[in-house]
Each structure stands twice: as structure tokens, then as C-alpha cells.
Symmetry: C2
Subunit: 178 residues, 2 copies
């Protein structure tokens, strides 16, 4: 357990600032937890050659076959520019295919390949295991509480994000209903 280096430790000279300015900041804690989450995901899923971002993209393409990159970015709330290279890598691994859209020559439609569907099916247990391990150290009731509050917070801060989640965009490629 890392010691809380706060006021009783006299390791700051003239300044009155302590490391608590960092350690207790929500932003710092979210960053640390995200890094831990990625580390656990990669550890559990190292057999599958998929990153967390690639996994989320693959799920979304599986759920929305024929979606285009822009709408995909809205569905998983990932940056559109970043997504370009993610898609490129998924295509290089032959997990997805990109086909030009007949009605709009700007758009490229995304589809899972057979291999992509297989990886997705096979990786599931490992992903679940990783998600479990992240919250494992907490008591079950606390896990529920944290997950609930976190879900609320992400939801309520949606518009503060650079790329707000717009799940309804996912339906547009199936004939405009939003």
C-alpha cells in the first residue's frame, strides 16, 4: 500500500504545496485507473492481438454492420481522426473489411470478417475477466455503487467530452430514424 505522503512528511522546503494536490485530484485518479484498466485488459487478452479500443470498435461494427467511420466514432465516443488508424489496423489484421458505399462515394462501409467475428467470440471471456479484476479489490456493494456513479458521471458529462457519445447516430445507416 503506497503511503500517503501528506503534511506530516517534511519533504517540501519553502512551498506549501504537497503531492496531495495531485494524489487527491479526480483527474489524476481517473488517469491512473484508466492505465490500470488498460494494463489488466492487455494482460488478460494478450493471446488475442486486440487493444481495448480495437475491441470496442469491433463490437460496434459487429452490432452495426455497414456503419461508416464517422458514425462509428459517435457510437463509441472515440475521436474520428484516431479511429482512422484503428480501422486501418483492424483491416490489416483482416478482422474487418472496408467497402465503398454505392450511394455516397465519400463513405466507406465497415463489415466484420469471419475472422473478426471469431476473435470477438473467443476474446469475450478474457475481456469479462479483465473487467471483473478492475473492480475486484472492492466489496461487491461498493463495486455496484462505483459503477453506478461512474455511469451517471460519464452520462452527465457527455457534452463536456470532445467526442460526445451519440448512440442514436448508429441507426442512421439503416434508413434515417433519428
Amino acid at each position: 500500500m503506497p503511503p500517503r505522503t501528506s503534511s506530516p512528511m517534511p519533504n517540501n522546503k519553502s512551498s506549501s504545496v504537497t503531492m496531495d494536490a495531485v494524489y487527491t485530484a479526480p483527474g489524476y485518479l481517473f488517469r491512473r485507473m484508466q492505465q490500470i484498466a488498460v494494463a489488466l485488459f492487455m494482460e488478460e487478452c494478450k493471446a488475442f492481438d486486440l487493444t481495448p479500443v480495437q475491441y470496442a470498435a469491433l463490437i460496434a461494427i459487429s452490432t452495426h454492420p455497414g456503419i461508416d467511420a464517422t458514425r462509428l466514432s459517435a457510437v463509441i465516443a472515440f475521436d474520428r481522426s484516431t479511429l482512422g488508424s484503428v480501422i486501418e489496423r483492424l483491416e490489416a489484421k483482416a478482422f474487418i473489411e472496408r467497402k465503398p458505399a454505392p450511394e455516397d462515394r465519400r463513405v466507406k462501409l465497415l463489415h466484420l470478417t469471419r475472422a473478426g467475428a471469431a476473435v470477438l467470440r473467443d476474446i469475450m471471456p478474457s475481456v469479462d475477466q479483465a473487467q471483473l479484476r478492475m473492480l475486484q479489490p472492492l466489496k461487491p456493494a461498493d463495486r455496484k455503487t462505483l459503477l453506478g456513479l461512474l455511469t451517471q458521471l460519464v452520462d452527465l458529462n457527455n457534452e463536456a467530452s470532445r467526442v460526445p457519445l451519440r448512440a442514436e447516430d448508429a441507426l442512421e445507416h439503416l434508413g434515417k430514424s433519428g
Copy 2:
């Protein structure tokens, strides 16, 4: 508020997987929240030319004058390789200085410059404002709960991190006491 695209929406054909596999995963939520946190930090602090990571590093150098890069990485739990370029950028902005250590020619000691101390002093209110805004959407009691659970979780998962926090390392440059 983004709609929860769950089972009632018939937008998946043959697969039984829905986007809930992503939306309800703690890892996904931590990623989203981290991105929101960075966006809010950058928005509040855009006048100061400091990123969240650079801010944390600057605080740590301020609190531990004469620390070296390896120990700094342990104190803020940031990757040692990444920290190299962070330090480089802080030095380029003249916020810190790097001096060779007399007793160990491998080591370069880090010190705040006058300009670095000034930025740190001036940016504080904006950082605090950003940290406030992240939790703002929650009721005060819920903010406390979330922050408490998050702190616990990061603490208990410390060893799962690639770069575990080792606050005690910070004291070693002041004459071995850990």
C-alpha cells in the same frame, strides 16, 4: 442524455451482442471519464500552456527539488519512457532545469525555475476549477462517495499498474531513509 442502446433496440441482426458489452464495462467508462477530465483540464487551463501530465510532473518537482527522472516516475506513477519527453518539453518551456548529479554521472537532477514556480502558482485556481467541474454533475454526497471509492480502487490496484506509485522513493534523494 445519450440513450442506452440496449436490448429493446433491434439494431443487431444475428449476433446476440449489444453495445452494452461496451457501455457498461468499467474499462470503457474509465477511458471516457479520463478523456472528459483531460478536456475539462485543457479548457480551464488553456491560458497556461500546461497539460495535465506536465502539471503533475511540475508539482512533483516542486515538492521534491533535485529529484531525478526515475524517481519522479515512481512518485507520479507515470511511465519512465514517456516522462523523458515530458521533461524535455518542460525544459523547452524553461519551467524546469536539468543538472548533472555530481555523485552519479548517469543521473540528471530536476529543479523548478522561477518561471516554473510562477506558472504553478498561477495555474492552481484553474486546475481546482477543472477538478471541481469533473464531479460537478453529481450531488455533493455522491462526489465524496465516488472519490473515496476511486481512491481506494487505485490504491488497491496499485501493483496491477505498469508503473506502481511509490511515494517513498521520493525521499531517497534526500539521504536514504526508506
